[in-house]
Subunit: 159 residues, 2 copies
Amino acid sequence: MMTEPNQPLPRINSGSDLKTVLNKEGFRLTSQRQKILELFRDVALDHHLSAEEIHHQLVEQGEKISISTIYRALHVMVGLGLLQELELAEDRKYYELSTPFTSHHHHLVCVQCGAVQEFEEVSISDVGAGETQTRGFVLLNSQFTIYGVCPRCQNRLGS
Amino acid sequence: MMTEPNQPLPRINSGSDLKTVLNKEGFRLTSQRQKILELFRDVALDHHLSAEEIHHQLVEQGEKISISTIYRALHVMVGLGLLQELELAEDRKYYELSTPFTSHHHHLVCVQCGAVQEFEEVSISDVGAGETQTRGFVLLNSQFTIYGVCPRCQNRLGS
DNA sequence: TAAACTGTTGAAAGTCATTTTCAATATTTA
DNA sequence: TAAATATTGAAAATGACTTTCAACAGTTTA
Ligand SMILES: [Zn+2]
Ligand SMILES: [Zn+2]
Ligand SMILES: [Zn+2]
Ligand SMILES: [Zn+2]
């Protein structure tokens, strides 16, 4: 559960290891699934994407992929532990690469403008792991999400 | 942000103080809104309820109230800080009385059967408050939710 | 108290993210 | 290569939630 600081994160490559992960559960590696993973891998900055945003980005870069395929692929990848599903906004889900492909972190969301800031705090993950173990649960995932109003939006309201 | 341990929680009563809270924002106290609050106040045990469950319970106890009214009332009450909105299951929202009417706590959810366990952990809330302040956000709400598989469901799968 | 004003309700229609259906296509297996 | 099985795109379906609107209720004013 502890994250080693300053360790380079493993980089999921779109080739053979992804295929292995999929095949292990009877899934196949398709170009569409590969493209979705590559998008997460290469778009390091704005890396909380909704299904529609993923679709839009891929279509924009010339890929032929339908929105249903996006939704199906997201399910598969969450199930395989490649992606995390996040509840950042009211009406849609967001996705990001899951640990260990990215560092485990939590989210601070502005409910006005949707801006998201991330922060790491090992103690939180530790509390989660402890509670889970104490109660005999198998831990799948945990999220600490803070909803608030960012400084910019505070000013905007004040004017 | 600190919670005093062993302090009796204030008990929202369905009478005048609820009226005051509503009126302050231009809302009115109606019997429907009162009934919803009473349901939360009196059903101490299974106190994470979806809109549909609230509706079902009230209809079952003979109240005349529509599902649209439930949804509207939930919005109003969340806005007033009387209720908290929770992301416990995939496809619907759950609600519970918010602090200070109940103690501030976090949730451990079994993704198989939906069972929910609660736990208090002040350090988490403190971390949240700290991060929020550091970044200049106004804190509205924070949730730490752990998703896992409960012991019973582990056995069920193993058989 | 009554009229005017404003908020609320129920029923039904609408919205919209997500899921499912199904025939065509791609990948894997034999 | 052919059979077997998984995946895809397009369109229809689903379902939680929201909105519309006319009737109704609580509040304010005179
Ligand atoms: Zn903002
Ligand atoms: Zn993130
Ligand atoms: Zn369970
Ligand atoms: Zn709770």
